[in-house]
Symmetry: C2
């Protein structure tokens, strides 16, 4: 058996049955093995950042890793921005990068570059497989690393001769490692603080914003009077009816500092200490009160359910029903506004929908108008590397086996980063509704320019304005096989959303905002 | 003065007057400085691989570096594939990457990543500027590194607080370093070999395929009986009437080995020893005769004109006119073929055109049918990282101040990697004619799959076929503001080429091949 076949068989044995791919010459034996061994669903992306972003979205919904197939160092480079986002999301990905044959690498042929050096910058685990005989074991280790809680990017570099070499052996999958146990002292400390009745914030992130974790957190909050908040970015937030009306720490420094100012204690549940996305002149880096005390209840690599359950018990916190969010909003009318769009999506979305949110500045307030929507999952841009909304939506739709509607709320500037995703949505006939928020500019940056103390002049606007020429998203979508229509009012937008939710195929709405 | 202003002023003083940009929040002070200091032409690309590819194309035609403006590590990652190609092209780029403020970096905010580690993989020179006071000097050093012969990628990482910090000083430009002198022994050895009358190949690459170098190489060939050939990839080849009918070492192993088999000596003029793009089972890595002797006349970092002139003198090689290539071809008729397209382009291209060639497998034989075209420059994909053809064409058009027609011969699969280039072409109203070679598949890979010993099955084809759904390049181009039309015959293609050559604006031809 050659290495490539052992790799495919090992991956399948370990439960990795989906491959997001953009192969090249050095991967042809792996492609042939995928032909010869049945069971791997292969999905083509027309640029690697689409491939890696799909793998990220897949993990967030499937809860198990897919593998990728990338071509040499430059192919990896193209996919690194969304691997960065996946790293920040805690998404498990078996990231397979084909490369020059080991003996050919020293000749420094044109495509040769520092594949391993690149991979180190975005991966928790990197290995270059050395021989076909070891590849099965390497694949087992890669899956093990990818499934290490909460999920990691594991890059397996696959030289062409390791792929075609004979004498390979299928690896025996090992069970995923259990997360490190939570610390008893941390539980005790948190319980003591929560009993103190001083202003305490329980800050939830990562796996601690799941529906189950929210139930436990709510019991703790009810019993102790503590406040609950979520970090600004999270891979997946359980939201809507039956879930908490959880708000996020705001993005901008001033409102974030205002929201956090009153807390003397912040208990971090799989969350990092809240800091600014960027440093600004004469502003602190941290968003919380400098006098506040931070306590780590559970780290991102620990199980928040275990920690929250222990805390519930330490406090003797009784069962408590999640509060009712009130009536479902009605679809908005008139000119598009952020509130109106959020209300309309909340009014119309089907049960168990998935939101892929790369709305950037337009969408910072979407949460408050969507609490009373049906239960849904909300996926965020976790690493700030724009261009993840469309591929994450695509991968999420595949992970849900096309059984859940995906709604991609998508800023136009960011959409241009990975618009090739639409083609994969058409090819796989995925139930994704994309709402392009067309303001024809990098609006977040025009806002940030203001903090420099002026309005952008013509040179600055030549780098911030997208309106010359206007992008026509109907043509772009149609050019890749996706039906599309334009909306200038919320009524039009509502009609298009409704009709797309009744279909099983992708649809794009260009909302002129 | 703040750091950002000192940076802009230093760049302008050093002759760097074009900035290819896709900025973010951490670059706003730099953007503001570009507003405040006049003289920098700023060109927006809607994805960073377009930005870096434009900078590569610009250098190849302008012969001096532009700067880029990228946003943090993920923005750099998005542009790394074309920085890899630029590195292989020997293109000088002052690659400016904004980043977290120095004091904010330890907080590991979402966009934070190993910027320097990423930069090392594609740059000859990397520095993270530490203070505003040092930024002017750092910029001088970056330009110096970028202009080191034949040109290098110099990455200057610019933390936000270095940009906004006061106390900055404009740097004093230093003259570009002279290339290291050629070695007298190398000249003597080459002269001795050329006099020996054994089969000798003078292999030219990089700066040694310029028009002037070709004149000298031809005198040497005439005087000695040596053969002349160019490497498979070159940043810019002077071609057409008045230039040599130079052929390249073929891409595929078998014809390359056949072409090189007879040479007992290979004299490398700024060329690397010819090796395969990839290793293949039971094939050697090198393409030349294992018994051949290789001699380095000049390294890629040395001046080939100096080396060839010295060799001309050592041989006493008389002046010799470049041979006439025969009559200009006529435009082809009927169904599209590679030969027909090459002949048609040769028949119709205006004087002094620029070809940006990312035709991949379709274009391997274009050279032999275009020798008798008017004088032109031919730009190749140098690093094998697909997605450079469109951005290189865009940057080349800007470097030529819109005075030369650029013809981008572009494979469809590769085009999808950086199609956002078309928007910049429309925005800047650039004279670029793009010919999309639409075969709706990764044809090179279907060929390579054959070497695995079979025809692709359905799983393999799900990763190699682009026809489901069909990409509609007219809609894609129109969606970004570029006029376009489809051609299914060479007559239609010729008509569209002719009419586009009469315009000053971009145009796209989708050629169904």
């Amino acid at each position: 058996m050659n290495g490539a076949k052992s790799l495919v068989k090992t991956l399948l044995a370990a439960g990795v049955d989906t491959c997001f791919a953009n192969p090249g010459t050095s991967e042809m034996h792996f492609v042939a093995a995928l032909d010869q061994v049945e069971g791997m669903k292969c999905v083509l992306g027309l640029q690697e950042n689409v491939v890696t972003g799909m793998a990220d979205g897949y993990y967030r919904i499937a809860g198990k890793p897919a593998c990728t197939l990338l071509h040499c160092a430059p192919g990896l480079a193209n996919g690194m921005a969304n691997l960065h986002n996946a790293r920040r999301a805690g998404s498990g990905i078996v990231n397979i990068v084909g490369d020059q044959a080991t003996y050919h690498r020293p000749y420094d042929a044109p495509l040769t570059a520092d594949t391993s050096g690149m991979a180190q910058t975005v991966s928790a685990w990197v290995r270059t497989s050395a021989t076909a005989a070891e590849l099965g074991r390497d694949a087992v280790d890669a899956v093990h690393a990818a499934t290490t809680f909460p999920g990691q990017v594991a890059t397996l570099i696959l030289p062409a001769d390791v792929s075609w070499g004979e004498g390979a052996v299928v690896g025996q999958p090992t069970p995923a490692a259990r997360p490190p146990a939570v610390d008893g002292h941390a539980i005790e400390t948190a319980a003591r603080i929560l009993r103190s009745k001083s202003p305490v914030l329980l800050l939830l992130a990562g796996a601690a914003v799941s529906g189950q974790a929210q139930q436990l957190a709510w019991r703790i909050a009810r019993a102790s009077g503590a406040s609950l908040m979520a970090s600004y970015v999270n891979a997946k937030v359980a939201r809507g009816r039956g879930r908490l009306q959880l708000e996020r720490v705001p993005y901008a420094m001033a409102p974030a500092m205002q929201a956090l100012a009153k807390f003397k204690h912040i208990v971090l549940v799989n969350a990092e200490a809240p800091v600014g996305f960027f440093g600004y002149p004469d502003m602190p880096s941290i968003q919380y009160n400098r006098a506040a005390q931070l306590h780590v209840l559970s780290r991102p690599d620990q199980d928040p359910l275990e920690a929250l359950q222990a805390l519930v018990e330490a406090l003797g916190a009784p069962h408590a029903a999640i509060p009712d969010p009130g009536p479902r909003p009605e679809a908005a009318r008139g000119a598009p506004t952020p509130e109106g769009l959020a209300q309309t999506v909340a009014a119309l979305m089907p049960e168990n929908a998935i939101i892929s949110d790369e709305s950037i500045s337009y969408g910072r307030g979407f949460y408050q108008f969507t609490h009373a929507a049906p239960a849904h999952d909300w996926l965020h841009l976790t690493g700030g590397a724009i261009g993840d909304g469309m591929p994450v939506a695509t991968g999420a739709a595949l992970a849900a086996a096309k059984q859940r509607r995906v709604i991609n709320l998508q800023a136009d500037g960011s959409a241009m980063y990975s618009l090739q995703s639409l083609w994969t949505q058409a090819r796989e006939q995925l139930p994704v509704t994309t709402v392009i928020l067309n303001n024809s500019r990098y609006n977040i940056l025009i806002g940030e320019y203001g903090s420099v103390g002026a309005t952008p002049g013509p040179t600055a606007m030549s780098m911030l304005d997208l309106g010359q020429p206007q992008l026509d998203w109907l043509k772009l979508a149609n050019g890749m096989g996706v039906d599309a229509a334009r909306a200038s009012t919320m009524e039009q937008c509502a009609d298009l959303l409704k009709s797309s939710f009744g279909q099983t195929t992708p649809f794009l709405i260009e909302l002129m905002i």
